[in-house]
Amino acid sequence: MASLFKDLTKLSAYRDRRFPGNQEEFEQALHTSTTVYIGNMSFYTTEEQVYELFSRAGEIKKITMGLDKNSKTPCGFCFVLYYSREDTEDAMKFISGTILDDRPIRVDFDWGFQEGRQWGRGRSGGQVRDEYRTDYDPGRGGYGKLVQQELEAQRQLVDYGTGSLGSFPPVMPPPHYGRRGGHNQGGSHPQSRDHHHRKRHREDDRPPRESSKRTLDHASRRNFDPNSRPEKNPRFRESANSDDEEEDDGKQRP
């Protein structure tokens, strides 16, 4: 890679505050790591989609989806572990900023996955960036969590009853689901939810009962999550840190 336009020693502007070491060790970890962090994903993107896209940069060893620590459902980030450093660099160079599932994703070097890092670090369970967002993003559960809570409160005031949080219709009409248009136009909310729902449960033909089903799905997956079975996988033997600490996983990244 050309060294004229990029400082090759500076790999990431993001500094994970939970990295157990100093800045120098952090940078060393980034320089040798074969893990990439992928951000700004849709909640509905599956591991298989990630696999199809990222295997174009090289053979993949492992994918770890980021999960909402309360609902155990994907919350818009993941880690991909490669076998070789060269492939890791290519994923960063050639996939970052391109579209996956109608969204521009961000790919960064990561210092290496450890148990616990798959959970969202926001107060509500997802990523911190989804706490404070004020825009309506259908690919990431609608409004940010705080706005949702506010809407919920207002709704109860006018006695509409309590609906599930994520299913509030947007205040602004969503962009028309045209085939031309911005990257984030996932379509009107119910429609896109329906599509994505089918995608995630492609093996399941029963009528959807969304939130409960999804929770079940990921609860059962947890049983088989290698990360939760440290005795099987020495890489993850370190026990998890407490994850109640509020920390930004999105905001500090440029």
Binding site: M1, A2, S3, L4, F5, K6, T46, E47, E48, Q49, Y51, E52, L53, R56, A57, G58, E59, K62, I63, T64, M65, Y83, S84, E89, D90, K93, F94, I95, G97, T98, I99, L100, D101, D102, R179, R180, G181, H195, H196, R198, K199, R202, E203, D217, S220, R221, N223, F224, D225, P226, R229, K232, N233
Partner: protein
């Protein structure tokens, strides 16, 4: 005021550093003004940075050369140092065979000559040295003609300099340069024409050998001759030194010391045969041809430019691609803003596609070119998307003739590209493929693009994207759900096997270990139900438990892989295991491939078992209609290759560790010895420490040695396994082809093969008269493609297409793994490529290996 760094970096660009000016002369003056002031205290920084700019932004070399010329008037020592550094770098590049550096530094030398920094005769000496080395290589006694690739490369470098300084050389040293040209002509007359048809994008169906296309060097020579006859006028090379000529003549020209071309390779005893082939392959790996022209657009569409301008713009584009990978913004802006006074959108598209499809391998992974094409579509939204669409249409038109490997890359690229542009494509244009037989390459192309789109997105989304041609839904893959034969959801009859499956499922849910499950299988299932039932129940149940995601699959395989290993200990059983995996995921090509790949990763199945499964009848039947078996085969060979590469890398780094460990041990020993000899001077303690050090260093050395030996043993075993893999692969290929290829007397060439069915079809189908084939001389439409929507006929028969596709893959695998295969060629020749093998099969292998065709004894 901008810093000298950004002025150097941005010279010639439209950018804030240079205000509103886009005039090269002004840029040079501004930059020179700043640099001359900075030289005094920053010359140590300026020199390497200036060189780096010239090396990595070679399209700006004339600007840097002129700047150096002006600096030469100010500070001769600085420029002298610069020339010396360039000399050292150039010699290094020659010694290490760093092709890009050699090529670019020669261009830099040429422009320095134009700016009076170098004597023209110094440059001529460089040319002569390289030319003489090239000619010696061709000499059978003093050189080694199998290394022609190196000679060709040197000569192409000389020719490539001429657009930048040809007119100066002819003016200043006419006799010397004439002498070089005569030498090149002589070289061209004795070298072998490069006829590596195995690397052409399109299946070379001109096998009659009537028109021999120019190879790369002959082509460049032709362009240079046109240039010479035009008085060396070239639009695409800026000549800023002319604006400063009056000043520059006062500069002092520096000496460029002699350079040494690398040693000649050892002569060979004969100029054919295996050894020749192996060396030729190695030489071509080291000195690869940089570009292969892909003519996609009709001449009426492409930009009208001089032959040499096309070459230069290609060079510019390739260098931007080479040096600016990873810098998306700069890469796109340099690509669209080259210093040429004409448009080149079509040429740019052809150049990028020629890299994406370059055989055997492009310099970067195809995904890089995917990114560049996307970025250019955004940078030139009004122009480039249309050009890309035109390229796609043109390639689609000729897809039946496109090399198999290129077809695969095109499918992966196109699906990925569309996924970044909302999946918009005028599919109605291609709806006609539904009328074609299911083996027609255009139809298979559409089907595979849709398959990959679904993988990158999801079924309903892709369905929606083809709404202009809803009938194409027929080509969409199935919805991808597993085919779980023990599903109890749809109220099917519950059999005994259902009960076993449910029992196994409960055991897994109850977290029983693999060992417990193995005993259950061996004690209660196998004795009562037999092995076939065991296999079905275990595979379907475990895969179903792991079906929710990639991670679920991995987890099941990590926990229960031993169950598979126990019930399928040998190849025969592993083949049946793979077949069950294929049955469970029959609706999902991606999961089939992933599951097989992971099972190989956990060494539950061997690559040989995978090859056997790929060549099982059910898969062989799909060879011409689906990528499914090929994807599995590509993965298996790729994974094997990756393992070997990893071992090689580990060994090479261990070798370095051995060297340093030996040095460390020797040093510690020497220190100890020295101390012991002066024993009287030191007391016991330090000596003890030195002794301990020496022992530790020795232990270290021994342990590194041991790990190296262990890895080398592993590599030796892996290479044996690799030999077995390729033997099995090509034996299988040979067998299935032998069963299906027509008698060699009926099909000596691919073209004859293609026309067999056409001849038969003219008898039963009247409407095919448009495409009637006179197979002696005229070809329908040049290729077998469909000229337009009115001729929805693909007149290659199913069996013939099967042979064509399969031969295409034979060639593709041989080409991709040529280095590995050459290592085992003797064995392959003895066991597979025997007398009885079908000549078309043999030809495909040879062509993939770029093995001289005259070595094919049977013709």
């Amino acid at each position: 005021m901008s810093s000298w760094r950004s002025l150097l970096l941005r010279i010639g660009d439209k950018c804030p550093d240079y205000g509103t000016s886009s005039d090269f002369k002004e840029h040079i003056e501004t930059c020179f003004g700043v640099i001359r002031r900075e030289l005094e205290h920053s010359s140590d920084d300026i020199l390497p940075f200036l060189l780096q700019c010239a090396e990595q932004l070679p399209h700006k070399i004339p600007l840097y050369g002129t700047l150096v010329g002006l600096l030469n008037l100010e500070n001769e020592d600085f420029v002298k140092q610069m020339v010396e550094t360039t000399h050292a770098n150039f010699q290094d590049a020659l010694d290490f065979g760093n092709c890009d550096m050699i090529r670019i530094l020669m261009r830099f030398l040429t422009v320095m000559m134009c700016s009076k920094v170098l004597q023209p005769s110094s440059l001529v000496v460089v040319f002569e040295t390289l030319l003489s080395s090239a000619s010696t290589t061709l000499d059978e006694e003093k050189g080694n003609p199998s290394w022609q690739a190196r000679g060709d490369f040197y000569v192409s470098c000389i020719l490539s300099c001429l657009p930048w300084g040809g007119s100066e050389l002819v003016e200043q040293v006419p006799e010397e340069i004439e002498c070089v040209m005569v030498g090149i002509e002589a070289y061209l007359s004795i070298r072998r024409h490069n006829s590596d048809t195995g690397l052409s994008f399109f299946e070379d169906d001109d096998e009659s050998g009537s028109v021999v296309e120019k190879d790369f060097l002959e082509d460049l020579w032709g362009r240079i001759q046109v240039l010479s006859s035009n008085g060396w006028k070239v639009d695409s090379v800026p000549r800023p030194h002319l604006s400063f000529e009056a000043q520059l003549v006062a500069g002092k020209s520096h000496e460029f010391g002699p350079i040494n071309a690398p040693e000649q390779p050892e002569p060979l005893s004969e100029v054919s045969g295996v050894l020749y082939g192996k060396q030729k392959h190695n030489a071509e790996l080291k000195y690869p041809q940089r570009i292969r022209r892909l003519n996609i657009f009709p001449a009426s569409k492409t930009e009208d430019m001089q032959p040499i301008d096309r070459f230069i713009v290609e060079e510019y584009l390739l260098d931007v691609l080479l040096f600016l990978n990873g810098c998306r913004k700069e890469c796109a802006s340099f690509m669209v803003g080259l210093p040429v006074p004409f448009r080149y959108d079509y040429l740019m598209a052809e150049t990028i596609f020629s890299q994406l499809l370059l055989l055997p391998l492009p310099p970067f992974k195809p995904i890089y070119y995917t990114l560049v094409i996307m970025d250019l579509c955004k940078a030139l939204p009004g122009a480039f998307p249309g050009v890309v669409a035109g390229a796609v249409r043109a390639l689609f038109e000729k897809i039946a003739d496109l090399d198999m490997e290129c077809q695969t890359r095109l499918i992966l690229w196109f699906s990925h590209h569309l996924s970044n542009f909302q999946f918009i494509w005028p599919w109605e244009e291609w709806a006609f493929v539904l009328d074609l037989p299911k083996w027609a390459p255009q139809r298979v192309f559409v089907q595979e693009v849709l398959e990959r789109e679904v993988r990158l997105s999801y079924w309903d989304k892709v369905k929606q994207s083809i709404e202009n041609a809803p009938a194409l839904e027929e080509l969409l893959p199935p919805k991808g759900s597993p085919n779980f034969i023990y599903s109890i959801e749809d109220g099917r009859e519950r059999t005994e096997q259902h009960a076993l499956s449910a029992e196994l499922n409960n055991k897994v849910k109850g977290r029983q270990t693999a060992r417990e499950i193995i005993s259950w299988v061996e004690e209660s299932v196998f004795p009562n139900h037999g092995w076939d039932v065991v296999l079905k129940v275990v595979v379907h149940t475990l895969l179903d438990i792991g079906s929710k995601s990639f991670t679920h699959l991995i987890t099941v395989l990590e926990r229960y892989g031993q169950v598979f290993a126990r019930i399928c200990p040998d190849h025969d059983k592993q083949v049946m295991l793979i077949a069950e995996v294929g049955s469970y995921w029959k609706n999902n090509a991606q999961m089939t491939a992933v599951a097989i790949d992971r099972m190989m990763g956990y060494r539950l199945i061997s690559n040989l078992a995978i090859v056997r499964w790929v060549f099982s009848p059910a898969n062989v039947e799909q060879f011409h209609t689906s990528d499914r078996p090929w994807e599995v085969l590509r993965n298996a060979i790729g994974k094997t290759y990756n393992r070997i590469s990893d071992l090689r890398n580990e060994i090479s780094s261990l070798k370095k560790s051995v060297v340093s460990a030996e040095a460390a041990a020797a040093k510690a020993k020497a220190e100890l010895d020295a101390a012991e000899s002066k024993l009287s001077l030191v007391d016991g303690e330090p000596l003890k420490r030195l002794k301990a050090n020496a022992e530790k260093a020795k232990e270290e050395e021994v342990s590194v040695h041991e790990s190296l030996e262990a890895k080398e043993a592993l590599l030796a075993r892996a290479l044996d396994e690799n030999e077995a893999l390729f033997l099995s692969l090509y034996k299988n290929f040979s067998n299935v082809l032998m069963e299906r290829l027509p008698d060699p007397s009926r099909a000596r060439t691919l073209r004859e093969l293609k026309s067999i069915q056409a001849d038969e079809m003219t008898v039963d189908l009247d409407e095919s008269s448009v495409m009637e084939v006179d197979n002696e001389s005229r070809r329908p439409n040049k290729s077998q493609s469909n000229g337009g929507k009115d001729s929805n006929i693909y007149n290659v028969g199913e069996k013939e297409q099967w042979c064509l596709s399969t031969l295409g893959y034979v060639k593709a695998f041989a080409r991709q793994y040529a280095s590995e295969i050459w290592a085992h060629i003797e064995k392959l020749d003895a066991d597979v490529l025997t007398e009885n093998v079908h000549p078309l099969f043999k030809k495909a292998v040879y062509s993939g290996l770029s093995r001289p065709i005259n070595d094919v004894s049977s013709g």
